[in-house]
């Protein structure tokens, strides 16, 4: 019996079926109903989708999510790359302190999202006792309404998320940069390539696959972000920082509208699946190289 692969895989398949397959089928089914969290019965209908797409809040929510994901991902990639480059360069030159830099960035990865939300909420304190506003006031700026102005709040949430996600992005970039061959780099130096040319023609092509993988992983993570935003703004003021994962929660557990929340969840599910397919395509290409 143990000479076939199946018994070794059964526990894995059972757990995944119970915790993923069943809920996904349920959420798709519920999205076609008018179920709510108060009454038991429900009817099948397309109402949830029709209402979701025509609701005045839907397009702004998608816009908020798009802004949050796009700028989080771009800046996490950029900041992660720069910090990793600085550390790798310092290690090459045997500088002291690279470990301190690496560790202080990494610590952000170990802090639960809700605690990050709470911490940034304190930094963004809008009174004069708030540390960022105080710092701005010393150079004659502010006070800034970090969390009470709708546009500013979205920027503030995105900045906090960039801070949070840079650690993970940095470590992937760091791993990638470590694999760049020293010989090739030295050959490029001997050929008279400038630092910029080495970056463009040697380093970036070598780590392009890892940048792509990083891009996809952090995009998916950011799409699914819920905890940090909830602790920092709760989606407000108004709905100005209500990203998609949070709006699903709000629809179901605050407005008790299960059908509509499920329909939004299906939208997020489709995003997740499409991004996974892109990821697999990238991985497949990596495998062929």
């Amino acid at each position: 019996m143990w000479d076939t692969p199946y018994p070794w895989l059964i526990p894995l398949l059972l757990v995944l079926a119970a915790v993923f397959l069943y809920p996904i089928l349920q959420i798709v089914r519920l999205s076609f109903t008018d179920a709510n969290m108060i009454q038991v019965g429900y009817d099948y209908t397309l109402e949830s989708y029709l209402r979701m797409f025509t609701l005045p809040g839907f397009l702004p929510m998608i816009g908020t999510t798009a802004f949050f994901v796009f700028f989080s991902v771009v800046f996490q990639l950029f900041a992660g790359f720069i910090v990793a480059l600085l550390i790798v360069q310092g290690e090459k030159m045997n500088l002291r302190g690279t470990v301190v830099v690496r560790t202080s960035v990494l610590v952000a990865w170990a802090i639960p999202g809700v605690v990050i939300g709470v911490i940034w909420g304190m930094l963004y304190n809008e009174t004069d006792a708030g540390i960022i506003n105080y710092a701005l006031s010393t150079i004659g700026l502010g006070p800034v309404s970090f969390l009470s102005d709708p546009t500013m709040a979205l920027l503030s949430v995105t900045l906090a998320n960039i801070w949070r996600g840079t650690a993970f992005s940095m470590i992937l970039m760091y791993a990638g940069l470590k694999t760049v061959s020293k010989d090739v780099l030295e050959a490029a130096v001997i050929d008279g390539a400038s630092a910029l040319q080495r970056m463009k023609n040697v380093i970036l092509p070598a780590i392009a696959p890892i940048i792509l993988v990083n891009l996809i992983i952090i995009s998916i993570d950011t799409f699914n972000t819920f905890d940090m935003v909830m602790a920092l703004t709760g989606g407000g003021p108004g709905n100005s920082t209500e990203v998609i994962a949070l709006s699903i929660y709000t629809a179901i557990f605050r407005e008790f509208n299960l059908g509509e929340g499920a329909a939004t969840a299906v939208v997020l599910l489709v995003v997740n699946v499409v991004m996974t397919l892109v990821y697999l395509k990238v991985l497949g290409r990596r495998g062929e190289e």
Binding site: W2, T4, P5, W8, P11, L16, V19, F20, Y22, P23, I24, Q26, I27, L30, L86, Q89, G90, M93, V99, V100, V101, V105, L106, V107, A110, I111, P112, V114, V115, I119, M122, T127, D128, A129, I131, Y134, I171, Y174, A175, G176, K178, T179, V189, I210, N224, F226, D227, A231, A245, I248, F253, L258, G261, A265, L269, N272, V273, M275, T276, Y279
Partner: protein
């Protein structure tokens, strides 16, 4: 290298300046909260704010411990994370072994399906589970919560360990079979010991992810005595007001201090674990 000594020195200076900036931007938020946690409620409201607390109100910590069961939250987190790690390994190691060592139909399709689940938002799966558990009267069951945590980390763990076992030469299996080992002995006595570094990587990553997990316990647990620390902090936040920032700060510091200490002590292994995962995965 052909870079002149003078240029070399300027590069060093530039690197050090950027290091200071990077470390400041990552540590400052934490140090500021640490500072707030040691200020009295009057000092918190003072303008200009004091970077280094003058009151050094260590009593804030006692006050938080008296009003909120932070130690209980930490203990709950620890229990949940430890059970998750153990159960995950028990399920993922045999599965990774099978995926690495057996030929089977639809293997690549199965691997893709497993990876797919990795990408799905926890909020999407937790809502139907909440309905199911609620209808069975099974909310607030930590073992069920652990099962959901395990499912969330299993896809990554299985992939990672499968890739790790792939790097172990098949010759070792054959030698074990010649020595009269059955498959179980081969896994436990031969492959398990040589896979320890990979398993350590997985344990670190799973532990950090599970420690941070929020949406699953937030929805599936409503008994405050079972909250893990992430939900506990949100609970603390909702009961606090502007005037008690110093207490919320103290609670936040207590909730992250165990992990931060662990990270500083183990940073070498953690970086190793993450980088090896990134290159192989």
């Amino acid at each position: 290298m052909m870079v002149g000594a003078k240029k070399q020195r300027w590069i060093k200076v530039g690197l050090y300046i950027s290091y200071v900036l990077v470390v400041l931007s990552f540590l400052f938020p934490l140090l500021w909260v640490l500072s707030l946690s040691l200020q009295t409620r009057f000092e918190v409201l003072q303008v200009p704010p004091s970077i280094i607390p003058t009151s050094f109100a260590i009593g804030n910590y006692r006050e938080v411990l008296d009003s909120a069961p932070v130690l209980q939250y930490l203990w709950n987190s620890f229990r949940i994370v430890a059970s998750t790690v153990v159960l995950t390994l028990l399920i993922a190691i045999p599965a990774a072994f099978a995926l690495s060592r057996y030929r089977m139909k639809f293997k690549s399709q199965l691997m893709v399906a497993v990876l797919m689940t990795q990408m799905i938002s926890a909020v999407v799966i937790t809502i139907p589970l909440y309905r199911l558990f609620a209808s069975w009267g099974l909310l607030n069951q930590l073992w069920l919560v652990v099962l959901v945590y395990v499912a969330v980390v299993l896809p990554f763990t299985t992939w990672f360990l499968k890739n790790y076992i792939d790097t172990v030469p098949v010759d070792m299996d054959e030698a074990a079979i010649i020595d009269g080992c059955n498959k179980w002995q081969m896994l436990s006595r031969v492959l398990f010991p040589v896979s320890i570094p990979g398993i350590v990587s997985v344990v670190i990553i799973v532990a950090v992810q599970s420690w941070s997990q929020f949406v699953i316990p937030f929805i599936l647990i409503d008994d405050a005595s079972l909250y893990p620390v992430s939900v506990g902090v949100v609970n603390l936040q909702s009961t606090q007001t502007q005037i008690t920032t110093h207490l919320l700060a103290a609670g936040s510091i207590m909730s992250i201090i165990p992990v931060v200490i662990l990270f500083v002590l183990l940073q070498r292994y953690i970086v190793g674990a993450l980088t090896s995962g990134a290159v192989k995965g």
